[in-house]
Symmetry: C2
């Protein structure tokens, strides 16, 4: 296996699309979620995001990274105006619809309708959930942080409702998201299912790595 | 399939470990990398991280989320003092060693030695790479942003060297990280291999989702 080394000067000289594909591949596998929002005109908006991070558990805070707000960004604008959004895991059964929801439809069009997914509502948030998704979180907007280096935005929300199949909740709180058929992504356009290898105990300096009991897998 | 709904008040009442497992499962699948650093005393440090994000491609910026700096955090301290670090994908062949490197060893101990991985150096950065890893990035520290809500820290670096197997680079710059055996993680302790389903073309409002040509998979 030969190794290719690319330095900062090489990177500069690559065509922009090539560089974007390369750099988007570097962080490894990513989340894949659909973010549901509702506009002030009550259009149910949907868009895929792959950069979702866990910020904290008490309170339960999650963040999504947005590209700079230099063009129309319905999801971002709806979150900032309505202060609510949903995060819905993408399952293998509807990844093509999830991908398609990234197309540039008109602001008055609902991606739920254009791609064929079903909006669903609860009392907790005004934003729409994706009925077809098996793991869904309703969030209230808390804060927006701008990364001044390139004007990307980290939008932080607090989970106010978590909806998961009872069967995937293990007794220590771990969610078996693989059993729920949640998929993962790489780059911006590649989709992968997963196969669990192991779940390991909290590591101790004086003990070798040890698997957790099978009932926690 | 029955659905469990957990609201913000329910979350508050859960035992702390249970809540942490639950909340860490919510963002979906995560990256899994080993971050290599060198202390001012020249100890080669290694630790696993699962929250790595792509910030931008020009320049190539990546960020890692750190928990609050309230206890000794060797990786964070080394990045802040030495201004350099490496990000190394974890492959299925050494996930147990990667997990074990999170154990609380003494500051003078090198996790490379304690877990049995091999430090490797290039001219680009002073921080150690993981020889066993097949995808490695050398970075220079650029900025640290504190998320004031809970004092977590987003540490941003600029890629100055990218080292990947020539075979996994597709002609549009996409890296087939699955072919490199990179794995993904869920929660803080579960490890998964992947199986690619598809890679899709950039979506257009008037066209159905379409796979990219097989040579780009």
């Amino acid at each position: 296996m030969t190794e290719k080394r690319i330095n900062a000067a090489d990177l500069q000289q690559l065509p922009s699309r090539y560089r974007a594909n390369l750099c988007n591949s570097l962080p490894g596998f990513k989340s894949l979620v659909l973010v549901g929002t509702r506009s002030s005109a009550e259009v149910n908006n949907l868009a895929p995001f792959s950069q979702v991070i866990h910020i904290g558990s008490n309170p339960s805070l999650m963040a999504i990274l947005f590209r700079p707000h230099t063009v129309r960004r319905d999801t971002l604008e709806n979150i900032l105006s309505e202060k609510q959004f949903t995060i819905n895991h993408v399952q293998a059964s509807f990844y093509e619809k999830a991908h398609q929801s990234a197309a540039k439809y008109e602001a008055h069009q609902s991606e739920f309708e254009t791609v064929g997914l079903t909006p669903e509502f609860t009392e907790a948030v005004t934003a729409p959930y994706v009925q077809e998704s098996s793991i869904k979180i309703g969030l209230e907007w808390v804060e927006t942080m701008e990364i001044a280096l390139n004007n990307t935005l980290l939008v932080i929300g607090k989970a106010v409702e978590i909806r998961v199949p009872t069967e995937i909740i293990k007794e220590d709180g771990y969610l078996d998201i693989e059993a729920a058929n949640t998929i993962t992504s790489s780059n911006l356009d590649a989709y992968h299912t997963t196969q669990k290898i192991d779940r390991l105990k909290y590591p101790q300096p004086d003990q070798p790595p040890t698997s957790l009991p099978k009932n926690l897998f």
